[in-house]
Symmetry: D2
Subunit: 242 residues, 4 copies
């Protein structure tokens, strides 16, 4: 019925070059691991990374992007404010954003949320169980009622985000914490999804159910195609006289 | 990407047989007027009416329905409770429901909402302006920022519904009222949309933008395809010992 | 600033009379255990139980009730439909409802939700951790960021409720499940809170933090005092002519 | 039951000194007109204005403020970024914010929303009708189901805000537009209300129902008193071994 969205996967791409463990799991970078299953589903996917000029997020690239997938972790501060403002404008104008894992602390996510976006965390390779709490949400299509990840970083509440418009996944962690792991928000004409899993030292993005989750989120976040709203001073549509 | 939903349009089909004004506007019934643009868009559409056996909503028919569109007005009380319960179960199981205009007072809508669903009204052929208040919502696809209906029945607040999960249209009426005219809710695995326009004595369902609105709502309400949740007594997934 | 709400605590009051374990924990009934800390906080509290005439919920009693607290478990089916309808009307008219634990399956809660309200469960005396996921919600006043209950019944997702208007508590269970344990909804002029804890074979309602939680919920659910909306046919407020 | 919040009313205070029409309506400034009915209700109210040092919003003043009321219009750009950041931190930490009318375009409101916050407008002295769409919301206490303002500036949709957590007022304007005029959001531990009315050239803040609305919003926005969430690296609460 509708065409598939054009995707750009953005990755910080630093861990893979500095940490042999991460390089072993994602030899071509997390961006390529994220792009591959989207391409296999028939989507048109480009990639962009921090160390490219303008971080690969030129006005031209964004203009051709329906949905931007974002993975960043240790270099959030190196993302230029002009690029963040450019992405922000595009999201308000209709481009979807799928923020993954530590992207919770990226400049673009924080600017769109308006909150601190902080949380609890622990790197202990513990078990995570992601429970579907809204089986009427399209991002849960084709998923079981629970996804198990044998080893993940823990993220715990309170997660300092605005109450999500929709909450569809809640995580259980072995160490005693819970987390709102699948959330959506609408901002301007844009649609935003946050998906928790994906610490760089675990093979999470090779997990088929997580790949389905990301594919669903990308499709969900595609631009809607409503008219751009008019702003500013307006003549009356109806007579004002008495 | 996904196949189009299979639709059943349900219509009370009484006004058209009793009132020449309505028969003049909808000579083949409101159900056929609703079905035609959905069929033109390529959807598979059946119809059902109150006076058919089981109101046309047999278990077999519902089993083959992805989205049920509902128009009723003066005979809500004649819809059998067993049929209402059957539809209710199917919605919780994933079938979409698009409730139109006076369906706000249907048994099925009230049962799903849990509230009185009452409102203000006036039949005076006045102008209605439907404003898009959420241009990131898929049901607004392809629509202008405002739809004008030159003659409609007025519905006014307070509309006694649960706060909608999503509110995308608010109506302005010439006589001084406003109304939440485009709303969605999720219930169980099912997706529900309410669209206000469509009083039987005005040609509202021949209006192209209203036809687009209904087509969008039908597509939005299609079953998602998540796993059916497990219920009841459960063995532990993790060891309970200390 | 505002006076304290007048409360009626409704209890099925059957387990306490049939099961010595429950009688040992709640010798005067769960209703008295719930009423005591509310009274200690200065609220005016009545009680009512299933086996009283009209279940103790006469029109006169409801008329003098600002907030109704509900605990029921094994005799939901014995609550008369007329009484359920009477309570339903009062909630839509502004009376608050605080539904506790197994009240998720009560007729009144299901009627207000419009969904099946089913869930997973396990009676294994396991540890529950209730995490605050919205520290801006008044029902979390005076609470720590997590409440630990050493022994409770497990309730697990998917909990078949409408997406709550507000979600402020999520439970972690030792056996691997999570649950949306503190939720609110607004229906008509009434305010509804659901609080998960309180299986009858554990001393949960003697726990000080749980008592604070219930007191907060009762205050939150008090009637607001807005004007009762007008319904039905309306004269125009503004001229309709052109 | 709870003490009244301590309030600071912040006003740009420029129109009153430059425009005789505004000075005629608010001879002591909009801040004093806003403060007077709050004081009459027994609240402790301070004021602060743009041209004071640090705009009157020192760390000490904010530390003693439970709820900040904000009115600004033509000098949003003159509010120092450091002061905006200070207020932002305080809101996330629990201070309430009541943003009035043209505060929709203030730096602090935009930072908290994450969106553009733009809208349609017209200065034509037309009639506004504010309809209560959620009579279960505390900010509607003591109000009629509709407030009429004979002369106001029009604000029209689409208003570029995040979908509000709660929507309780929708405005009708004589010229054909509608607007979401009473909205709330929760951010961090803070509570935010937006109330549309209050163009400086009309005597809106002398209107008793608007004064009730603002008083209700101030009380609603008061800090809740939940525990401050813990962040960062955490030891496990439960054993991680198998």
């Amino acid at each position: 019925m509708t065409r598939e969205p054009r995707v750009t996967v953005w990755n910080e791409y630093r861990h893979e070059q500095a940490n042999p463990v991460v390089a072993g799991i994602y030899p071509e970078g997390i961006h390529e691991a994220l792009a591959a299953p989207l391409r296999a589903a028939g989507l048109d996917v480009a990639t962009a990374t921090l160390d490219e000029p303008e971080h690969g997020l030129t006005a031209a690239r964004l203009a051709e992007t329906d949905v931007l997938v974002w993975w960043g972790h240790k270099a959030h501060g190196e993302v230029a404010d002009e690029v963040v403002a450019r992405v922000h404008d595009r999201v308000l104008g209709g481009m979807g954003l799928v923020a993954l894992h530590s992207a919770h602390f990226s400049k673009i996510f924080k600017a769109l949320m308006g909150t601190g976006c902080d949380l609890k965390w622990r790197e202990a390779g513990e078990r995570e169980r992601l429970w579907v709490v809204d089986p009427a949400h399209p991002i849960t299509a084709g998923l079981p009622e629970m996804i198990t990840l044998d080893q993940e970083e823990m993220y715990g509440e309170h997660f300092d985000i605005p109450p999500p418009d929709e909450l569809f996944l809640v995580s259980w962690f072995q160490g005693g914490e819970v987390f709102r792991s699948g959330c959506t928000w609408r901002r301007g004409q844009g649609r935003i999804a946050y998906l928790r899993p994906g610490h760089e030292t675990y093979p999470t993005y090779h997990h088929g159910e997580i790949q389905t989750l990301i594919l669903n989120a990308v499709r969900w976040a595609a631009p809607v195609g409503a008219a751009k709203p008019t702003r500013g001073n307006q003549a009356p549509l109806e007579p004002l006289g008495n």
